[in-house]
């Protein structure tokens, strides 16, 4: 195979891979501007489904609940996951470390259906015993924190393992007490990991359907639950519009994050160049 052939093959494979990944997404965006009532038949350009979406109370309420749940559970998971990751990477070998590590990481491999059933059984038994918790947003948040904590812990632990322990020792040597070391040195250094852990927990919570279905109550229907139930009754082009909006939202955040990284790199390089010049 000569160079031109291998180049052609490379390009062809990349195009196929990109099509495979993004064709469904692109088709959702295109069909969200379709005027037809039928999801798969193109008639002409229109933005009427976006307008309809803005007047669909069921979807708007569900979206608000979803975002509320995602914010609360991502915050909770970030706090707990940071503690867990810090303990796993900085407390050395304490008795029960292996068990603790296994318990923290279990949700990464546990089937969601099992998590859902067991959490539901726990909540039902608790409510029968002490009258708390009622199944609504709070149970969803607790269930989401349970599995999202594991993801945050992994991200934080891996970031901490990249940071030289002697930086924290230096802070202690310079008179900082353990809490000061954590807040003045460790926390700023792992802040990027906390941010990505938070975003990971946020998006995991936002699109979780299985566990949420088990632990939600009648007044707390999240967006994925609404979409799923709508799909069962026949797809509505409104869902395309909703999908397009979510893609736009995610795309804007990803773009900002990428540009910030590129800009920081570029600024760092320029300063080093002036430093050595």
């Amino acid at each position: 195979m000569n160079a031109a052939q291998s180049r052609f093959l490379l390009v062809a494979m990349s195009v196929l891979a990109l099509l495979f990944l993004y064709a469904p997404i692109v088709s959702i965006v295109i069909y969200s501007f379709n005027e037809s009532q039928l999801v798969t038949v193109w008639s002409r350009f229109s933005t009427k489904w976006y307008a309809a979406l803005l007047h669909d109370d069921q979807i708007l309420r569900a979206a608000r609940i979803s975002i509320e749940v995602a914010l609360l559970s991502a915050t909770g998971a970030t706090v707990l996951g940071t503690f867990a990751g810090y303990i796993l990477s900085r407390f050395g070998r304490f008795p029960g470390r292996t068990l603790f590590s296994g318990l923290v990481m279990a949700p990464l491999v546990m089937p969601e259906i099992i998590m859902g059933i067991s959490t539901l059984l726990l909540f039902v038994a608790l409510e029968a015993a002490i009258g708390w918790p009622h199944r609504d947003i709070q149970t969803i948040v607790m269930a989401h924190i349970t599995f999202a904590t594991a993801f945050v812990a992994v991200v934080v632990q891996s970031r901490l393992s990249e940071i030289d322990v002697s930086i924290e020792e230096a802070a202690a040597d310079l008179g900082a007490r353990p809490l000061q070391v954590f807040f003045l040195v460790t926390l700023p250094l792992i802040a990027p990991a906390l941010m990505s852990g938070f975003l990971l927990a946020f998006s995991l919570s936002l699109d979780d359907l299985v566990i949420t279905s088990f632990v939600s109550g009648p007044s707390s229907t999240t967006l994925p639950m609404v979409i799923f139930s709508k799909v069962r009754l026949g797809l509505n082009p409104e869902i395309n519009a909703l999908g397009a909006l979510i893609i736009l939202f995610v795309g804007v955040i990803a773009t900002i994050a990428t540009f910030r990284t590129i800009f920081a790199d570029w600024r760092g390089k320029r300063k080093v160049e002036t430093a050595t010049a």
Partner: protein, 377 residues
């Protein structure tokens, strides 16, 4: 060699009236059954530049970390100026440490790195600014106050780490391999800079190093460590000229060991019967205490003279004939290995004076009685 100057010319460790500043007493530290530091006792005096020298795993870093408070000994005591250090956490100790990889805070600029320790002391902003400025001057980094650590060269980072540790005005500064991250040229320049800064601030320095040249050049005294124990403490010259054991003799510099029993001894010198040398070796020491014992006579390569056998041009107390076997050209000197009839290879270092010897050339080597030192361990 760094000499601690006193008006009477006496070094503080030789003066019984002077109390040491830092006392390490019978310190033991084990990790999971492995004894990292084994019964170490040391006295270190104010103003010293003291080095802990040894190979990797000899316990020198563990000892330093116990001084800083990152490890606690299983047994023994450590005190500074009468203060029991073992009752104090790292952040309460009046010592500061300069870390091997400098451990600068990557998210703070140079000025903030240096100010970090002062903030923890609760000083006012004016006082902090003044002291940060002064310590930046001390290490000549005034122009770099706003730089982040990743925008500095290795040598600049090293100086920030030094300034950050010194700005706290510690009674003792601990240095963990301070020069190992620098390249060779910079390392040599920095050696002298460190000594100058130490003299300027008058703080006791305790340095961990595996580099014997570095320890020799910078220290007032050196403690050589091996397998968790301190095996000799002394001024660089003492350790080089009078190594107490074969391990130290071979670890510090290069040496020839001529083995044999002490046969003849007295106040005006002794003789050791060394079959490998081809006869008795005369040394200036009085070895009466070791009479009949098997000892090694250590002779440094640079103390052995070398001449062509046919134009023999020096006198010496001990003389042997041999053949040049190996030659290493080092630029400033030549290193030869001369084989004696017994098969023993003797290392000889000759200053590069333009006299060359070639391989398989018959030569005569010799050294004076005062050049050899008896080692019985």
């Amino acid at each position: 060699m760094n000499v601690l100057l006193r008006e009477d010319g006496l070094q503080p460790w030789a003066d019984k009236k002077v109390a040491p500043q830092l006392c390490i007493r019978n310190v033991v530290k084990t990790f999971d059954g492995f004894t990292a530091v084994n019964d170490v006792s040391l006295d270190i005096y104010r103003g010293e530049f003291f080095s802990l020298l040894g190979g990797s795993g000899c316990g020198k870093t563990t000892l330093l970390r116990m001084l800083a408070g990152f490890e606690f000994p299983d047994r023994g005591g450590i005190s500074v100026d009468g203060l029991d250090l073992l009752k104090l956490q790292p952040y309460e100790r009046p010592l500061n440490m300069m870390f091997q990889n400098y451990a600068l805070f990557p998210h703070m600029n140079v000025a903030k790195n240096i100010a970090f320790g002062l903030r923890n002391e609760g000083l006012g902003p004016d006082e902090i600014e003044k002291r940060v400025k002064k310590s930046l001057e001390l290490v000549q980094l005034e122009a770099f106050a706003e730089r982040k650590p990743n925008q500095l060269s290795g040598g600049q980072r090293q100086r920030v780490a030094l300034a950050r540790a010194l700005v706290k005005r510690p009674t003792v500064l601990l240095l963990d391999e301070p020069l190992s991250a620098l390249d060779k040229k910079l390392r040599e320049a920095t050696q002298f800079e460190l000594i100058n800064i130490q003299k300027q601030v008058g703080v006791t320095f305790i340095m961990v190093t595996h580099d014997q040249d570095e320890a020799m050049a910078m220290s007032t005294r050196i403690a050589v460590m091996d397998k968790g124990r301190v095996i000799q403490v002394g001024e660089p010259r003492e350790i080089y000229e009078y190594p107490r054991s074969r391990f130290i003799a071979t670890f510090i510099g290069s040496i020839n060991l001529l083995e044999g029993p002490v046969v003849d001894c007295g106040a005006d010198g002794s003789r050791v019967d060394c079959a490998q040398w081809g006869g008795p070796v005369r040394v200036a020491q009085d070895l009466t205490a070791l009479s009949g014992h098997h000892v090694a006579i250590g002779v440094r390569p640079e103390k052995i003279r070398l001449a062509r056998a046919d134009e023999f041009a020096f006198t010496a107390d001990n003389i042997a004939d041999g053949v040049v076997k190996e030659i290493a050209y080092l630029g400033d000197s030549m290193l030869y290995r001369v084989q004696l009839p017994s098969g023993l290879l003797v290392k000889v270092a000759a200053q590069n004076l333009g006299v060359w010897f070639s391989a398989d050339e018959p030569v005569r080597i010799g050294f004076d009685a005062s050049a050899g030192v008896a080692i019985d361990k």
